[in-house]
């Protein structure tokens, strides 16, 4: 755009050409002259004389006139220029000049603004224009503009509206001061900025009116002050649209998936839905899909000052499992809308998930003189149907008070069958202890309603806030089950000396209700310090009835009193907390103390007896933060925490599902108290791409609640919760990441965790010392264009010594590698992705089986249509057919390894169709 001046003004120009023609001056010349007032004929000092390039109005030279009103510009290259002279309260003088070899002399006279009259042009209106009251409305489509034209071009076509080369708009003879978009001010109130930044084809109507002053709008009294305003009404259909995706994949045999999802929006109102079927994985929607087509899950974000931020995404957590063979169908619909002062988000979902799985486990219990090994195998089938309704609604703002309501109602129906077999032996003597085989089946109906209401208000006084958060939960669960089991116990010569057969039906009905209110009030004490008060009250009730019947074929059904019970639990929690916070630029610290009380009561309907336990808790804490620089932080903190025993630890409910593990109560159980100290230092150098972090912690627990186990000659263990002293934990870590070479980042981390854990085995105090060390390295490159990769390698060592048998220490290494490489051929719209997940465990005395798993998943994707609508994808899952899930655990004198099966090698070919109008799905953006 050439921003040339259109000289409408009547100007006086005196032009002298002095004839000095010297060939050597052909390239550079000069301009000299004077500036004077037309009327007073007085030379003007400090007038601004500017030389602009004629073709694009670019400023080339700028000078001020001397005290005598003279100016000189040199050197200046030959060419076409505009001279612009300005002086406060005088009209600008502009004229075209051509600089040749000859120096130019300009004597310029300028006028005060008062001498210049404006012309007003009024044109007749045509049919595409309607006059409504004092508003003139133009229908944008009636005026032809070129495709991709901006609004400025559109306005130029409209009668009664003029746009000059500077972008200034005149409507009905008056200058337009404001351009609004849909009645709201655009980023800039500068009309030229708005009209150049908006496309003509999104505009529905152009309305021209006189806007009353804000004062007049507020008071309702017309003060006569009006300014010409243009409102651009945008087309509704540019705000309305839809997008979606259909996907179908198959290996042309047993595996396949299908997805259909869509999101239709109208302004901020959104209706989204999906239908899926899949027997290759557990998630029905991936993260981006859940955001665009589902209810979005629960996202909590925390943003610190200086760019540090944290995003927490919490699912329901109970959609569960990742092992076995899944088969699922799901459907959902979400409605959401946003208003000026609130938002609504409501969704209904259905999900059916059937999982068939095989599990085997190996465990070893270390005893003073020997050890017991237990091997089990089980197969299970779980069929779960879930109906869920959620709504999250919000009104208000922080300063006027913000209300938030969340409601979640769910009905879950599940059927579960497990076939289990296992046995224990003593490896030292080879003696068999027991064998067990059992089948359990349960069908459960679990109805829940969870909700929360919160209110938050920020007062006008800085730092004074109040927030009240209340939660409530109701549950109604019924379960019917079968237990058929045979347990054999052996003597030293491997002869069965005792056989238990169990054939029972069980029923459970449980009603739960809970509610809590948490109130936090902050009061500023001066500029940098605050007092924070917190009070929480919580009530919970649980009425649970469990009946067990002996139910053998051909025999009458008999209630087993020892395995039947009916209890009512009630809990009342009260806690108050006061803390002081001091925050200045580089330092902030927090010190506080709290006191709480907990009252547990239990009523046994069978014996008509009740029991009440009271605890008083003490909760001190202190945190110190030091931030010497941006992106450098040091934190030191202390927390003291009281842990109450649970009522089930004091008085457990007898359950015979696993007759080899029985828990008995302990009425004398006391609460434990833990002191925890921790520190953390981190520094991030952005320019150097260098990150360093150190951290460490230590905690010790007095009266820690742990188990005392008595294991009899048959391998049956009886467990009781007891208090012990001397438990502690420690940990330290170091992380370092830097740019190795041209965008390739190298990171390393190392750390150690350890602790002492005391428990009691067959009456003997057992002290377990555990140390685990880890070392990891990462390599990554984010090229964005052609190739991205990251790879990590971790090695960890676990070492445990139990005092009851020093010789039987456990010490093993495990190694893990995760990698991902992406190749992008953007022109060919072809993408290759390769990910690996390798786990190698060291063989050891404790874990005789070597469980190495090499998982490699290659995939490629190609956009196959010109408009990006069709994509084809080929992926191979578990190329080397190795998949299984191994979990190793070491706690005190008990070590275990559990192996679950999962889907192995298959190749899946998918076709994806993306459709959209005026919109597209949002992505995470990184």
């Amino acid at each position: 755009m050439n921003l040339l001046f259109l000289g409408q003004k009547r100007l006086t120009l005196t032009f002298f050409s002095v004839l000095f023609s010297l060939a050597t001056f052909a390239q550079n010349s000069s301009i000299t002259g004077t500036v004077k007032d037309t009327t007073e004929k007085k030379n003007l000092a400090m007038a601004s004389v500017n030389i602009l390039r004629a073709k694009d109005s670019v400023l080339v030279k700028t000078v001020r006139t001397s005290s005598k009103g003279e100016f000189a510009i040199e050197p200046i290259a030959a060419g076409n220029y505009i001279v612009m002279v300005s002086y406060p309260q005088y009209a600008d003088f502009t004229d075209k000049i051509t600089v040749g070899a000859t120096p130019i002399v300009l004597n310029i006279a300028i006028d005060t603004k008062a001498h210049i009259l404006k012309e007003v042009i009024v044109k007749n209106t045509v049919s595409a224009i309607r006059v409504k009251g004092d508003t003139t409305e133009y229908k944008a489509d009636s005026f032809y503009v070129t495709p991709n034209a901006d609004v400025q071009e559109l306005l130029k076509k409209m009668p009664g509206i003029q746009v000059n080369a500077k972008g200034e708009i005149t409507a009905q003879g008056e200058k337009v001061n404001k351009v609004l978009v849909d009645g709201e001010e655009f980023f800039s109130d500068d009309p030229a900025v708005v009209t150049k930044n908006l496309r003509a084809d999104v505009v529905d109507k152009v309305q021209v009116f006189d806007k009353k002053s804000d004062q007049a709008v507020f008071t309702g009294i017309d003060d006569g002050q009006k300014s010409k305003t243009i409102n651009l009404q945008l087309k509704e259909d540019k705000k309305n649209g839809y997008f979606g995706k259909a996907e179908a994949g198959s290996n042309f045999n047993q595996f396949g998936n299908g997805k259909l999802m869509t999101n239709a929006f109208k302004g901020k109102r959104k209706i989204a839905g999906y239908v899926t079927t899949d027997n290759t994985k557990f998630d029905n929607l991936n993260w981006d899909e859940a955001q665009n087509y589902g209810d979005g899950g629960n996202i909590t974000t925390e943003f610190g000052d200086g760019g540090m931020s944290m995003v927490m995404i919490s699912g329901d957590g109970d959609d569960g499992g990742s092992t076995g063979f899944p088969n699922q169908q799901s459907a959902g619909a979400t409605f959401s809308n946003k208003f000026d002062k609130g938002s609504v988000n409501t969704s209904a979902q259905y999900n059916r998930l059937i999982v068939n799985g095989l599990t085997s486990s190996y465990s070893k219990t270390i005893l003073p003189n020997n050890s017991i090994v237990n091997n089990t195998n089980s197969s299970q089938r779980n069929d779960k149907k879930k109906y869920k309704f959620t709504t999250t609604d919000q009104w208000g703002t922080d300063s006027t008070g913000l209300f938030k309501l969340t409601l979640k109602a769910a009905n879950v129906l599940s059927d579960n069958i497990t076939n289990f077999s296992g046995g224990s032996y003593i490896p030292e003597s080879g003696m068999q202890l027991n064998n067990t085989a059992r089948t359990t089946s349960n069908s459960t109906n679990d109805k829940t309603l969870n909700g929360s209401i919160s209110y938050r208000l920020r007062f006008a006084k800085k730092g004074r806030t109040i927030s009240v958060n209340s939660d409530f939960n109701f549950g109604d669960k019924t379960q019917d089950g079968l237990l058929n089991a045979q347990n054999d116990y052996f003597n030293a010569s491997n002869v069965v000396v005792k056989r238990e057969t169990i054939a029972q039906t069980k029923s459970l009905s449980q009603l739960t209700s809970a509610g809590s209110v948490n109130t936090v009030y902050t009061e500023p004490l001066g500029k940098n310090s605050f007092l924070i008060f917190n009070y929480k009250i919580g009530l919970a009730g649980n009425n649970s009835e469990r009946n067990t019947f002996d139910d053998r074929a051909g025999q009458p059904k008999i209630k087993v009193d020892t395995l039947s019970n009916h209890f009512k639990f009630n809990t009342v929690n009260n806690s108050g907390n006061i803390s002081y916070r001091y925050a200045v630029k580089k330092v902030n610290f927090n010190i506080g103390t709290g006191i709480g009380s907990a009252k547990y009561s239990m009523f046994d309907y069978a014996t008509n007896s009740s029991r009440t336990v009271n605890f008083t808790n003490f909760i001190p804490s202190a945190t110190f933060n030091f931030t010497p620089k941006q992106q450098k932080k040091f934190v030191l903190s202390y927390v003291g925490n009281t842990q109450n025993p649970t009522l089930l630890q004091i008085q457990p409910i007898i359950d015979n599902t696993d007759p080899l593990n029985i828990t008995v109560g302990n009425a004398n159980l006391r609460q434990s108290f833990t002191n925890k100290f921790s520190f953390n230092f981190n520094s991030f150098k952005v320019m150097k791409s260098k990150y360093v972090q150190f951290s460490g912690s230590f905690s010790n627990t007095n009266d820690a609640i742990t188990t005392a186990s008595t294991i009899d000659a048959f391998g049956k263990s009886v467990n009781q919760y007891v208090n012990v002293d001397g438990n502690y934990n420690y940990g330290a870590g170091f992380y370092y990441d830097f740019e190795l070479y041209k965008g390739i980042n190298f990171g390393m981390n190392t750390g150690v965790n350890g602790g002492r854990y005391n428990n009691i085995v067959n009456g003997i105090k057992n002290t377990n010392d555990n140390i685990s060390t880890r070392l990891g390295i990462q390599l990554s490159y984010w090229g964005d264009k052609k190739i991205n990769f990251w790879s990590s390698f971790d090695a960890s060592n676990n070492k445990t010594v139990s005092s009851i048998r020093q010789g039987a220490s456990t010490n093993f290494w495990s190694y893990r590698n995760n990698s991902n490489v992406q190749f992008k051929f953007k022109k060919a719209k072809f993408f290759i992705d390769l990910s690996t997940d390798i786990t190698v465990y060291q063989k050891s005395a404790a874990f005789p089986n070597q469980r190495n798993i090499y998982l490699v998943h290659p995939s490629m994707r190609k956009v196959i249509s010109k408009n990006d609508k069709w994509e084809a994808k080929l992926m191979v899952y578990d190329l080397f057919n190795q998949n299984q899930f191994v979990d190793r655990n070491i706690t005190s004198n008990f070590i275990s390894e559990t192996t679950n099966n999962g889907i192995r090698r298959y190749a899946l070919f998918s076709i994806i169709y993306n459709f959209s109008k005026n919109g597209k799905p949002m992505s995470m953006g990184f």
Binding site: M46, A192, Q630, M922
Partner: protein, 248 residues
């Protein structure tokens, strides 16, 4: 109508007859406003889920006050006072009291103390040259009639400036300079950023003590550009916005 016209005319002629005051030394207060989401979204050209979350947590606009002290030779532009209540979506928006821009128009040089992430740059270089297009549009800023001029930074980012003839020093906020008078307003639509003067007071001479930067890295504008490009090259789409902003 005619009567009013005459009254206005007399008034204007009356002032024009009086001596026009050019301001050769003084103190200007600017307000820098950043529409934080616009600044990042415009560059990315696509909204994302992350941004939706940010919108819930951060204010749309953050404002900071800057001071520019000048005489007819040089100018000092610096943050008046840090505002601890401001919540910046990105640390590059957060200004620092130890930063300043000292434009020295006699020598054509600039000294710029700029804290970029963890590095404190102390730049000594020639004044940045801008190619200004003069549009002739006028508007009033802080009681001064200003003319509009347009330039581009980083090849594509349009910067709109408003300058007044009444302050002859060819300086302005940040590195901006080279217009026929003092720049009283800057608007960068793509970064959602404006720097507009809110008040101007007369003052005999600048009285500004240059703050001492800790561990300053002596550098040039070219070197800083190279460092920034290197740092942000793997930052994805947001890098563009950050680079543009730091180039203001």
């Amino acid at each position: 109508m005619r009567i009013i016209y005459i009254v206005v005319l007399t008034f204007i002629v009356g002032t024009s007859a009086a001596q026009v005051n050019f301001i050769n030394a003084g103190k200007i207060t600017y307000e820098r406003r950043i529409s934080q989401f616009a600044a990042l979204i415009n560059a990315e050209a696509q909204e994302n889920i992350w941004m939706e979350e940010l919108k819930k947590q951060f204010p749309k606009v953050v404002a900071d006050n800057y001071t520019l002290q000048f005489n007819n030779k040089e100018s000092f532009y610096y943050l008046t006072k840090e505002n601890p209540d401001n919540k910046y979506i990105n640390m590059i928006f957060k200004p620092t009291e130890t930063n300043y821009v000292n434009q020295k128009h006699e020598s054509g040089m600039v000294t710029n103390a700029a804290s970029v992430f963890e590095t404190n740059y102390l730049i000594n270089d020639s004044l940045v040259k801008y190619e200004w297009k003069i549009t002739g549009e006028v508007r009033d800023i802080a009681g001064f009639e200003c003319k509009k001029a347009i330039t581009k930074i980083c090849d594509s980012v349009v910067v709109v400036a408003f300058y007044t003839d009444q302050i002859p020093l060819q300086a302005g906020p940040e590195n901006f300079n080279g217009l026929p008078g003092m720049i009283l307003g800057i608007a960068v639509p793509r970064l959602g950023t404006t720097i507009f003067a809110t008040s101007i007071s007369l003052q005999a001479a600048p009285n500004y003590v240059l703050p001492t930067l800790s561990k300053p890295k002596k550098s040039t504008i070219k070197q800083l550009d190279a460092d920034l490009v290197k740092t942000t090259k793997d930052w994805g789409k947001e890098a563009a916005a950050i680079l543009w902003f730091l180039k203001l």
